[in-house]
């Protein structure tokens, strides 16, 4: 993959080490030089970054690209393009496909398809259990040998404590492997469609209590301690879970956690008009939970922001709230939503926001070793994202690159946009347009 020279000119380079005004010269997919006043060689592609932040490419560790099985709602190609527009150079896609990613052949097919598309790294997560049925272990070792590091039955919780214990014990033999849990006790959320709280009681919509999450998180943290296993909480959504993870981290348990932009911004009140765009699992919670998640992100309890990008066709969402599938789009809008709702009001610094979207999630899943999440120094893979923090735009769900339209942010005016994305030195997004 030779792409010649690309010079990213005039931006402020930002990575985990800090920020400085510098140009970035990229040659043949690698960062060749970072410094002030670099001049392009003849024939180089020059990308303007004046007024922009040059950051490591973003890493979204929870997306659903629906391939194989539900290519009517998203494909690896459309999802990758949406991810690139959102500034991503790597994503981890969830295994609740059809067939599920519980088999080496399915892993290989996702990897092959992602490589052919070539817009970003797509790392399949593997199932913890066969068929995501929560009973027998999936071939975790075989999937690991193909590079899988994240194991999860996401969409469903591994409800059986003994199965989860054995998964922890088994995966302990595989360095870098992490068990990621969709923490919602299926018995406590049975028939529920939104957060159980004042709004669900008023609307007559059966609820999914926060305790369905925190009880599973508490159990799994005990099992992680018992087994020495690595545990990751997917889309952590409530104050009680954040407190449990905080205490466990202080206690030396090997735990990481992520939360989504929507859980950092929206509340259960969004469901008041019965719009299925706001239906997701775990559900949007209460203002006190939003505050707790923000605090947990700031103090490091929550390691990463991930989107749980969950495309659904218009047909499946154009139904009554209780009949709609859970999930919303996110990969293309996450950075802008975070910049607008958390950085602009001064809740997070820009560096904290980019860190939570880039180098911190990269470390959670081991993708820092694969050239993602910086640092932006000579010799590293040129996975970069150039962010114009002043660019204002309105989200039009119909114009998103995703194949689906179920964005809760439709119509929102956002500040901050990805101007260019470089994936191994090749522009996948240039001047906010996909290059292909």
């Amino acid at each position: 993959m030779s792409h010649g020279e690309v010079l990213v000119q005039g931006g402020r380079v930002l990575d985990a080490a800090g920020d400085r005004l510098a140009d970035v010269r990229v040659v043949d997919g690698l960062i060749a030089e970072v410094g002030a006043g670099l001049t392009p060689t003849l024939g180089a592609t020059v990308l303007d970054a004046h007024g922009c932040v040059v950051a490591p490419g973003l890493v979204d560790i929870q997306v659903h690209f629906r391939e194989p099985g539900r290519e009517d709602s998203e494909t690896i190609e459309t999802g990758s393009r949406a991810a690139a527009l959102g500034g991503c150079t790597a994503v981890v896609c969830m295994p609740n496909t059809d067939p599920p990613i519980d088999d080496a052949a399915v892993v290989q097919s996702v990897l092959d398809r992602a490589r052919a598309v070539g817009l970003c790294d797509v790392h399949p997560a593997g199932c913890i259990t066969k068929g995501r049925r929560g009973e027998e272990l999936a071939p975790i070792g075989e999937l690991y040998d193909l590079g899988v590091r994240v194991f999860t039955d996401d969409g469903d919780c591994v409800a059986d404590a003994l199965v989860m214990r054995h998964a922890f014990e088994y995966a302990a033999a595989l360095p870098g492997a992490v068990l990621a849990q969709h923490a919602e006790d299926p018995a406590l959320v049975r028939d529920g469609h939104m957060h159980e709280g004042a709004w669900s009681a008023r609307l007559g919509i059966p609820g999914r209590p926060a305790e369905a999450e925190s009880t599973i998180v508490a159990r799994d943290l005990q099992l992680a301690r018992l087994t020495g296993g690595r545990y990751h909480v997917l889309h952590l959504s409530c104050a009680a879970s954040a407190a449990l993870v905080r205490a466990a981290k202080a206690d030396g348990v090997r735990v990481t956690a992520e939360c989504t932009p929507q859980h950092l911004v929206l509340t259960d009140e969004s469901c008041a008009h019965f719009d299925p765009a706001f239906k997701m699992n775990p559900p949007l919670r209460e203002p006190a939970d939003v505050d707790a998640l923000r605090a947990a992100l700031l103090d490091g309890t929550i390691d990463a922001i991930a989107t749980d990008h969950a495309p659904h066709t218009a047909e499946s969402k154009d139904v009554p709230f209780e009949e709609a599938p859970p999930g919303m789009l996110g990969v293309e809008t996450a950075l802008a939503v975070v910049l607008t709702t958390l950085v602009e009001p001064g809740i997070l610094t820009l560096a904290q926001a980019v860190g939570a979207l880039s180098w911190r999630p990269a470390r959670v899943v081991g993708l820092d070793a694969a050239g993602h999440g910086g640092p932006i120094v000579a010799g590293r893979a040129a996975n970069l994202c150039v962010i114009d923090p002043a660019h204002t735009w309105s989200v039009d769900a119909a114009r998103l690159a995703s194949k689906s339209r179920n964005s809760p942010w439709d119509g929102w005016k956002l500040t901050g946009k990805v101007r260019h994305t470089l994936y191994h030195g090749r522009p996948t997004v240039r001047d906010s347009e996909p290059t292909r």
Binding site: E196, G197, A198, S200, A201, R202, L203, G204, I205, P206, G207, P209, H273, F274, E315, D318, V319, P320, F321, E322, E323
Partner: protein, 308 residues
């Protein structure tokens, strides 16, 4: 008011009271020798019922006919819904026929809101999941006002039973509270809403404690399927603790009234003796349903002039 999806759409006390006043006029119409007026001639009202219902659907259709509207019934068992047609497609099909109002009953909360967003017709919620049943609340308030009115200020009402799963209770609480009533919810804690923030109600699980003080005992229908959901142990235990037996009713004030939205489980939430007693307004609630629905249809579809 564009649609009647929630009691909130009526516009608080003033809006509810003016609807009840209008109902008075239509009650007079229903008592004439020829109980029919040409008020909605040329208008078409469709009832779109995704749940079994006898009284509500008949009540709406009777109301529409007495206003001279044309009526169509779309009942799920005989429709193309059985061929897999979605609610959206069904609504767009009905809409394409140029109807003026759609009366919707659905097992999912908020389904009428979705219908309203897809259709150019006026939409009336005839019961959506556990959310609301606004015309039931209107007929309950109307019936009570005829006995305790014109003002219901300070009227003490106990709503007894499965409030958690009751659309009737949610609408009644809004309406009765707006009209100045004092409300107490009574039943096993498993059948109370999980959270009551913002509900203008007192809550107790002790029916006997509240009976001597209330002006109205409003009983909700109890469903056998709640036993399978581990919400209470048995109908026998429910009846013993929360059923309004004749002995319990005797501990009420002499003029305490008994209401029930129907259909009743005699011998469970209400004894047959109480249901048929002089205290009971159950039959009158049904009778008043037609006039209430005439008032609602007229408010949404009428010219605004006199309806004669």
């Amino acid at each position: 008011m564009k649609h009647l999806l929630s009691v909130d759409d009526l516009g608080g006390r003033a809006g509810i009271e003016s609807m009840l006043d209008l109902t008075d006029s239509f009650l007079e119409v229903t008592q004439r020798d020829i109980p029919k007026v040409p008020a909605l001639r040329g208008k078409t009202v469709v009832s779109l019922f995704y749940e079994n219902s006898t009284r509500t659907r008949l009540s709406f259709e009777t109301a529409a006919k007495r206003l001279s509207a044309d009526t169509m019934t779309f009942s799920v068992s005989t429709s193309s819904v059985n061929k897999g047609e979605s609610l959206l497609d069904t609504v767009q099909t009905i809409d394409a026929m140029g109807v003026d109002a759609i009366v919707v009953r659905h097992s999912a909360a908020g389904a009428p809101h979705r219908v309203a967003s897809w259709s150019s017709a006026r939409v009336i919620n005839a019961g959506d999941g556990c959310h609301e049943h606004p015309t039931q609340a209107l007929l309950d308030a109307f019936t009570l006002r005829r006995h305790r009115g014109p003002s219901l200020d300070g009227c003490r009402i106990a709503i007894v039973g499965d409030v958690r799963h009751s659309r009737v209770a949610r609408s009644d609480v809004i309406a009765f509270h707006a009209l100045g009533c004092e409300l107490t919810l009574v039943g096993p804690p498993t059948l109370m809403p999980e959270r009551l923030d913002g509900w203008p109600v007192a809550v107790t699980s002790d029916l006997d404690e509240v009976l001597p003080d209330v002006d109205v005992v409003y009983l909700l229908r109890i469903q056998r399927e709640r036993i399978g959901q581990a919400l209470f142990p048995s109908l026998r235990e429910y009846a013993a603790r929360w059923g309004l037996s004749a002995e319990r009713a005797a501990r009420c004030k002499p003029d305490t009234l008994v209401m029930h939205p129907g259909p009743m489980n005699r011998g469970i939430e209400i004894s047959g003796e109480v249901a048929d007693s002089a205290r009971s307004l159950v039959a009158e609630q049904v009778a008043n349903g037609v006039a209430v629905r005439m008032a609602v249809l007229w408010s949404l579809l009428g010219s605004g002039g006199p309806f004669v």
